[in-house]
Amino acid sequence: MSNTSENPKPSSSSAKMTLKTSDNELFEVEEAVAMKFCTVKQYFEDEKDSDVAARGSTTVIPLPNVHSAVLATLISYGKKLPQSNAVADNHEEEETKKKERKKYEQGLLKNLMPGELLDLISAANYLDFKEGLEFFNQALADHIQNKSVEYVRKFFGIKNDYEPHEEEKYREEYAWAFEGVDED
C-alpha cells in the first residue's frame, strides 16, 4: 500500500519522510513506519493530492504537539512492529520476531519514568498511532493497577472534589478494595 505503482522502488527499501517536532528537530523516518501515525498518513495523502511533485523526502511534516524525545520513542516502537509491506515470514521467523519485540517492550518500559508514559500516550493520541496507544495505555494501566487513590490523583493531576466525610464513608464501605495496595 505504501509502495504504489508511482514508486518504482522494491518493497524492502525505504522511502523516507521528514517529521519536524515542537522543538524544531527533524526526524527522517521510513514511510512504512510513518504511515502507522494516521495523522501523518492523512497529512501525507492530503499533500499528495495537492502537489505530486512535492512528495516524499522533500516534504517536511510539522508535529507541533510532539516533543523530540517522545517522537524518538514512538518511532523506535513503530519500527519494531510488523510492517504492513514486509514479505510474509514463515512461522519460525514470526516467533523469533515476536520474542524480540517482547524483549524490546520490556526493556523500553523498564527505562521509562511513569510520567513519560503520559507524554507518550498524549503524543500517540495526537498522532493517532493505534498500536502505540494500545501498548502504552496497557503499560500505564498495569502501572496504576495496584496504586493508591492519592497516587492516582497526583499522577493524573486530578483534584479531589469529594467532601472528607463522603470519601471516608466510601472507604469504609469498600474497605476490601483498598487492601493490598502498593505503598506510595
Partner: protein, 377 residues
Amino acid sequence: MSHLPVEIITKILFRLPVKSLLRFLCVSKSWYDLTKHPAFIKLHLHRSIGTNRDHTLIFGKTYKACRSYSAVPRYFVSVHFPSKNHFDKGLKLHQPLYCGRRSIRILGYCHGLVCIYHKTQEITIWNPLIAIWNPLIRKYKILLRERILKPSDLKNVQPLGEFEVKVYSLRLDSWRKIEDQWPKKECKISSTSASLNGALHWLVAEDISYDMHRWMGLVCLLAFDLAIEKFQVFKTLVQQKIDLETGLEVLKGQLCFIELTNEYNDVWLMKESREASSWTRIYKIGPCLRSFSYCKPLMFSENEKKILLEMCHLKHTKLVWYEIEKNREESVKIQNLPNSLWKFGTATCVGSLLLLDGHNVIDPAEQKKKKTNKRKR
C-alpha cells in the same frame, strides 16, 4: 501535567481489573461518573471476556449436605486464575443469601454475575429466594421472593407443575411476563441453564416414560433468545429415548452437551448453529475414572489438550485436569479449597461492573469486627 482527555482516561481505565476500578471510584466525581456509566461497564465487560483478566472460579456447596460436615459453610470460595495454567489460592467469599443451615445452589452464571437460589420447603409450597450476585465486586440483588407451586426438573420424580415464564430486567428492576410462553406440551426441563450469545439454553425432554426405574425421554435443546424473547426447540444428536441424566454447559464460547450413562460421559461441542448436524464429539470419559458420575467441563487448558473437570460423585466433588488423548486425569490442588470433603458447584466469572448499584454483601464476621473496633475507640 495537563489533564488527559476523557477518551484517553477511558481507554486506560477499561483495562483495569474490577478491584482497582472500585477503589478509583473515589478518585474524583468525574471518574465515578465515568466508571458507572453503562457504556463504560459494557466496554469493560467485553474486554474482560476477551482477555484473561479477572477470570475466577466460584465454588459453592451444593444442596446435598455431606454427612460428616454438618455445618453448612456461610461462604463460597473464589479462585482467581490469571492464566489457565495457574490458580491463585482460594479466598473465602461471603454470599448474600445465607439463611440458617440451608445451602445455596448456583442456578447459572453469565457476564460475571451468578444466580443463586435458596429455598425453604413445605409439602407442596416452595419459598424460593433467588438473587443475582456479582462476587467480584461483592454486590447483589434479590430477584424473587415468592411462594410458588413446585415445578419439576429432570431429576425430580414429581408431576408436572405450572410454568410461567418471566423476564427480569436489571435496568428497570422489574419482572415482566413475556408473550411467547412455553412449554406447549408436557415435558421435563433441566433446572440449570447455559447462557451464550444473548440466549439461554435448557435441556428438555419430551415423550417421557418411566422405564426400569429410570426416567427416559427424547432430549431436545430449548433456546430462549433474550433480544427477541422467543423460544425455539432444537433436536439433539440423541435419537432415541435416553436416561435423562444429561448436562448442558458453555465451553470455549460454544454449547457443550454431556450425555451421561451409567458408565460414560459422552461430550459434544456445538460448533456453529444449534442444529444437531454441527455437533462434534470432543471426548468420552469411560469407567476408568472410578465411578464418578457427572463430570462438568469447566474450561480447556491453554493448548486445548486438557479439560478442567468438576467431577461429581455421591459424597464429594473434585477438580481434575483431564488429558483428552491420553485419557488421563490429574488432580488439581488449590490452596484453601477443601479437598474432596464436600460437594460443590462451580460458576465461572469474568470481571464485570454489573450490579454496581446493588446491595453490598455483608460478611457477618467483618461486621462484628468493625463494631468491636468502633466500641474500642
